[in-house]
Symmetry: C2
């Protein structure tokens, strides 16, 4: 379909009439980038590698939505992408990121200049193949793995609703923004999006407005082959308001009307189903799967430009389009200035609240916050680390204004309730206990959204450690996108007993030790649990996983918070000169076994060192000197014991050492029995040590 | 509520009138087991460990559904739990397994005798804390992690629909069974169930009948706090027929009528929402979360027995109940005998089909099947292992009658289409290409159901390797439940290039190496890909994960299928006497780099061995002699190279060796550039080797 030719109009009417400066431009920029990509590929690069390096389909189809949002609806300041009260935009269908880059570019963000667009998908560029918040200011969250983005958007909208309820005053609504999201058929099929959207409906997140790009095409072809459900009926069942925009290709007024209607519904999130043509504008490839994930090709780009009546050079943004968009820089500055004045008013009138809110906005931790953490001595009663964790959570909630979280329907098992707060619900959004239901994956992705809403929001979430398998994709995004979510993972070993192998994590510790930029912590007692929380709170740019016991553990002599901060440290040693006869090392619930085995061996005259290896990652970050002081290379008699896979322990026990662990699935029986049958006993450690 | 007293009636009318022998008995058996559990705990065990060792709530609430199914509806043979054409039953809410155990016991299964019930949740028993197919004949699949079971049920129903369409004849419908499932609120909240149920609706699995135990209670209390969606409306949107049984506690006739109605709807699966009271019968704990996961307690057990008018000894099944159920053994034998005659008829008339079907029923592989695998020489053209994989898949599909599978909307990227078959769809269920849509988790769980339907069904499924994070929970169940699913995972490293870190697996190889009972295979070329498929097909009791490249790889001299079967083997060596100067080891796409580095070093006079480490697990299973012949302990100069986490490689390179890999997230850029920047180069291997 040929659009009417533009004639230099600079008004929004121009945008509306001819498809929009942003709209055509977004499609255009994508198209010309593909040209450039392919050109450079055919000139000097590897053609095969260039061949599949972009997803033009969504940007071309969704350009009108993007245009209306960024040019007319959203409040943002291009020169300060981190302005607190900005509207948030999430492209859940992250493969279409060129749409977002093009919009940021046109709106005047410094993060996406012409040279950035030209470096699309190249080493070191700010325009990677999927949107990454840590690379590109203006990108809120990291999307690409489908379904994550819309769940992040639920988290962003939750954060807004919570903060607004806590801090807004009748005379000063200092928090007041929308969360917009574009999601595609792929996102809709993913279970995580159903989980998160079910919660969004339950919580009544009225300021969440999601556009469903209903283009009927996914990589395998027409969605008819795998996706024939009635999506809007499903969303209505989930408690959403739904609207259908039938002409998403050119129906600007319909899109505007839908947004207006969505804003008017304040007690429900809104799904706007927008029927579009993937690759709209491409005369031969539109409405086909071939336009989803591959470049158009030079010939088709030419045909598309002809079809759209677009005769400008590659990468060229016509003057009238520039002029049209140029207002967003001054307007954005004004919007922020206005808000700053509003906040100043707020600060004057509501000093205490403003101070608290400021901490959430900036991420500054209150001075001395860590003193709130509970302390323990070896005389403190034995307790499960999940219970000790609850003491920490409750202590932290009193001093950290942005501490908020909950469990996936296991609050009473994970011990995660904040006793001084009620439940965050539709009618009580000022509260801080989140009730995620049995939705681990959605929980993790929602927490990513909360963490990335504001630097001072510190979300925690909880389930049984084994069920990290359900939410691993979200946890990886926490790690990659530097979202400091705290994962409170209880029932961390066969120590949970009777529930059996489906519930007993075996390979999970090592699987997180291998994941970049995430801290795997397995504390052994109260002191170490407090230490683990200290580390988790301080690490705002990497998530932490705390593996906690269901069963009671004694408070061990020698454990310390400082030790935890080093990841591995000596808790007891009867040798001198850094030359023990034997080194025993362990984590969490088995540290007690190691300590007892050391006692036995010392009785027999051995010089034995016991190391708590609470976090491998932190230990690896220590100096070589420190590491040598803990694990002297001259001592080869080493035994590790941990109720999990032995894989990776070779690194620390060495070739001559012995790793005691579990390299099979667990079993349904009382915990003590399983420990015994699996050889996780003092006797076995002593025997293994002697055998060395 | 007190039920009318039974008076020795032995007819189904008795069951109907008084709550059913099975119904009361199931609740009763659960209750008395709890008594026994607690009793033994208080006598000699650890009271703490016993305190939380059962989930009486669901069995008590769902006993009527279970009773009607097992006593009136289902066709099965208690003395042959593996009879092929049996109706399948899946308790997706696996924590309520005592219901299933009680029903199997009453129906006469040898796997659940009185002593088994008494050993509930004890070491070595056949009645573990969640249902495990590998422990208890009569249990179809392993459930417990919520949402998996209903997705397995979709797989079971798919298998039935497929086989029926392929093999049934107008005069002999040799395949004809139902799949029943009970799922709870927890299963409903999990995204995986929405994924699988969306597909079930799409596929029109008319013989899938799922009971939704709508008891409004989950662990955190009333489901109102997190789950207020309209479940039946959602299922209608997913293309299901829905029915609501309002009185699930005693409404036997309603349950019967609902099943009748469900059977009459043949083009849609049916969800029967059954409103029940959790812990029905317990006067003080029913309808509370405390009855979900904890024993009732001796006092409440007594009160419950009084309330239900049940005055028999613990574990005692009254004579009239026994008599009532006793018919199932002869009836079951008759049902199977009848079917055997039917099959004999079929065999006579449809010889070829019967032979094929028999292989699916028994799991016997056709003689010489492995000869169908393609062969390659070093002269064969370079190709991506994902493409070579497609050649294997297509070769296997011609010789293995039970080979069936597909991709999560990436068929054209994963290269998984079977070219000789069409798509399995509602109207073409005889075809073998499954189109899962973007639903990785559902895909894995559905494949578990297919694999466990019949020993000869060999399902494969595919996505990008990084998205195993979405389906890891299902993959773990494959491993645990001995379901030999083949996971075809392409785009297995930074070699995929521009899509960037969200799409580049780093920690995934090690995370599966650590998982028990699953084979992680990373072939380097065509020969090794064929070898990997040989291994995967032969391992019917453990799943395999094949990590395959997006990028082209050369066919390497020295690779072999026999080598792959050993997991690690020498592909080239210019030394003698098992004493090379240096050992280079690698997997997959980096084996080429190792081979080239060896060439360089050999030019300089070094004696270098190159090892392909295609599967660590298989290598570990070899004899010590073999392992020593490949990795002589005397040779400490070892370098590994793999485009993934180095964690675990210490085991093979040793303390003095060097592991080259990636311990950070990837990057969006052309693949070659990333390899270079990350040091995965011939030069770096050579330099590292020289540095040793």
């Amino acid at each position: 379909m040929k659009l009417p030719e533009e004639e230099g109009s600079q008004s929004p009417a121009w945008a509306s009439r001819c498809g929009g400066g942003g709209a055509v431009s977004a499609a255009h920029v994508e198209a010309v980038i593909e040209v450039r990509q392919r050109a450079s590929g055919s000139l000097g690069g590897d053609a095969v590698e260039k061949a599949n390096s972009g997803h033009p389909g969504l940007p071309m189809g969704c350009a009108p939505i993007g245009h209306v949002l960024f040019d007319e609806i959203m409040r943002y300041n291009p020169k300060n992408p981190y302005w607190f009260n900005r509207d948030r935009f999430v492209l859940s269908a992250g493969h279409g990121c060129m749409l977002h880059y093009a919009l940021l570019h046109l709106a005047g963000y410094d993060s996406v200049k012409e040279e950035d667009l030209k470096a699309f998908r190249q080493w070191g560029s700010r325009t990677p193949g999927h949107p990454e918040n840590f690379e590109t200011p203006g990108i809120e969250v990291t999307t690409g793995p489908l379904g994550q983005g819309v769940a992040n958007a639920v988290g962003l909208a939750l954060a807004e609703k919570h903060l607004a309820a806590r801090f807004n005053k009748p005379d000063n609504e200092v928090i007041d923004h929308y969360t917009y999201c574009i999601l595609g058929d792929g996102c809709q099929m993913e279970g995580v999006s159903n989980e998160a959207c079910s919660l969004a409906g339950h919580w009544g997140l009225g300021k969440l407005i999601a556009f469903y790009d209903d283009n009927h095409i996914s990589i395998d072809g027409d969605t008819e082959i795998a996706f024939t459900e009635d999506v809007t009926a499903r969303f209505e069942a989930l408690g959403w308001h739904t609207i259908w925009v039938k002409n998403g290709n050119t129906g600007y007024d319909e899109i505007r009307a839908a947004i207006k209607e969505a804003k008017a519904v304040t007690d429900k999130p809104t799904l706007i189903k927008v029927t579009t043509t993937i690759g709209y504008g491409s005369p031969n490839k539109a409405n086909s799967y071939s336009v989803h994930g591959s470049a158009l090709g030079a010939k088709e780009v030419d045909a598309t430009r002809l079809n759209l009546g677009w005769d400008h050079e590659a990468f060229h943004v016509p003057e009238e389009v520039k002029r049209h968009w140029s207002r967003h820089v001054p307007e954005g500055a004004d919007v922020e200035t206005e808000w700053n004045a509003k906040f100043a008013e707020y600060e004057k009138k509501y000093k205490e609240e403003a101070a608290e809110l400021k901490k959430i906005i900036t991420g500054e931790l209150p001075a001395g916050w860590e003193k709130a953490l509970p302390t323990y001595t070896p005389e403190s009663p034995a307790d499960a680390t999940r219970n000790l964790s609850q003491q920490c959570l409750n202590a932290l909630a009193t001093v950290l204004p942005g501490f908020i979280g909950g469990s996936a329907d296991l609050a009473s098992s994970n011990m995660t309730l904040l006793k001084m707060f009620g439940n965050f619900q539709k009618e009580t959004p000022e509260e801080r206990n989140l009730r995620f239901g049995v939705r681990e994956h959605g929980m993790g992705a929602i927490c990513n959204g909360i963490a990335l809403h504001s630097p001072g929001l510190i979300p925690y979430c909880a389930t049984f450690f084994v069920f990290t398998d359900y939410m691993r994709a979200a946890m990886r995004i926490s790690a990659l996108s530097e979202a400091g979510v705290i994962y409170v993972m209880t029932h961390d070993s066969i120590g949970l007993g009777e529930d059996g192998p489906t519930h007993q994590p075996i390979e999970h510790l090592v699987s997180f030790r291998a994941m970049p930029n995430i801290l795997m912590l397995r504390p052994a007692d109260g002191t170490e649990t407090a230490g683990a929380y200290k580390v988790a709170v301080l690490n705002r740019k990497r998530p932490s996983v705390l593996a906690l016991s269901r069963q009671k553990l004694p408070q061990l002599p020698g454990t310390s918070i400082e030790g935890v901060e080093k990841g591995g440290y000596i808790i007891s040693d009867n040798s001198s000169g850094n030359k023990p006869d034997l080194i025993l090392m362990s984590t969490g619930s088995e540290l007690e076994i190691a300590a007892k085995a050391a006692d036995e061996l010392r009785k027999e005259g051995k010089e034995v060192r016991v190391i708590s290896f609470v976090s491998w990652e932190l230990f690896e970050e220590q100096s070589e000197e420190y590491k040598e002081s803990v694990l002297p290379s001259g001592v080869e008699a080493r035994v590790s014991i941990e109720a999990g896979s032995t894989l990776g322990w070779e690194k620390y026990v060495g070739k001559k050492g012995k790793a005691i662990g579990i390299d099979r699935f667990g079993s349904s029986a009382p915990a003590g029995k399983i420990y015994k049958e699996f050889g996780l006993t003092v006797e076995n450690v002593v025997a293994s040590a002697k055998a060395l």
